[in-house]
Symmetry: C2
Subunit: 217 residues, 2 copies
């Protein structure tokens, strides 16, 4: 009984996600769903990506949080269209929330849509939003054992961005072991090492994003 209810919520979500995808495709918008634990640096990655790509792509952002407009306020300082979704306690974004947010964005004037999901390594994984790519951000201070504990997200994503590499001298994090572990679980995943604080590695990441979008067109 409980399982069948969950399944029907998921399949209703997937249907709306498909509609979102069709709407985004019709406007030539490439969409990335960004997942991470709280404090991993999702908003910082979005700010860095805007700086790196704004000269050649028109970017918009959807910010997902349980509460507050802290992140959307930050993104708005970059002068790009941004919509904040407050889930009001819900632990993940759902496709219908994104559909409502799309209604508030100038779809004809967007090339790349960055969606920041709620900070959570578990619940968002099940809910498609209409995105082209799923990217997971993990950060060095969180430790290199996360793939053991949250395997679902590492298996599901197209790319893993290791953030806060500027803190590597101060914490225990074995990047080579981490890479090997993640690739063992998801051989096709692309892994980036960045610092959103210093900017290190951002160019490689941004080039890859631009290339993924170009390849789809």
């Amino acid at each position: 009984m409980k399982v069948s209810i969950v399944e029907s919520i998921l399949s209703a979500n997937d249907e709306i996600a498909l509609q979102n995808k069709q709407m985004l495709d019709a406007h030539g918008i490439y969409a990335i769903n960004i997942l991470a634990a709280p404090g991993g640096g999702k908003t910082s990655l979005i700010l860095r990506t805007i700086d790196a790509l704004r000269h050649r792509l028109r970017i918009a952002v959807i910010e997902g949080d349980v509460a507050s407009t802290v992140d959307a306020d930050l993104v708005a300082t970059k002068g790009v269209p941004v919509v904040q979704i407050n889930t009001g306690g819900q632990c993940h974004l759902e496709a219908q929330m994104v559909r409502r947010a799309l209604g508030q964005l100038p779809l004809a004037d967007i090339d790349l849509l960055l969606i920041e999901n709620v900070g959570n390594l578990i619940c968002p994984v099940e809910f498609k939003l209409g995105e082209d790519l799923n990217v997971m951000l993990t950060s060095v201070p969180e430790g290199d054992d996360k793939p053991y504990k949250y395997p679902g997200i590492f298996v599901a994503v197209d790319a893993v961005v290791i953030n806060k590499i500027d803190l590597l001298p101060y914490v225990r994090f074995d990047i080579d072991a981490f890479r090997k572990l993640v690739l063992g679980m998801n051989p096709d995943v692309k892994i980036f090492e960045v610092s959103c604080e210093t900017g290190q590695g951002i160019d490689d990441w941004a080039e890859w994003v631009a290339y993924q979008r170009e390849r789809k067109r």
Copy 2:
């Protein structure tokens, strides 16, 4: 319809939590539910707390994770009783999981039970387990804006432990502003500053835990 199902799941959970509490009380066991984002340092705090209090309290641990026994293996090196719960995808511990774990612990020989919840700032808050205290761990690299984004957990807990203060020189985190924000939301909350890496602040935290337990007896 959906709401009433959620409510009935919660009330069934609360009933089992109450039974857990009665069972723990009957054995004179003081139980702490430890909540944090992934990688905040819950296991490290448990290891430090064992070292600080093992000469005067008999300690046991329940480890909650989506997958793996990484944390329980670490705790076991301390020679205290430990049970690993794998939720298999579930984003929080529930009272019935804890009840099963209690069945595997030598209840007559335990004074203090430390329960590590699944790494998640949202979902575990709603689910009582039978604990005496709820403690939230937040860590400096996560940033000082978490109370804005995850207000529910900051309001619900009895104590907030700020971990990884050894990283304060390397990241932006305004401890005074953070304290003020948290106390504004939850005036009775106790706040600790610790580094599970260096041991700084652990004595204060451990003394408080011991005192809370003593006060209840």
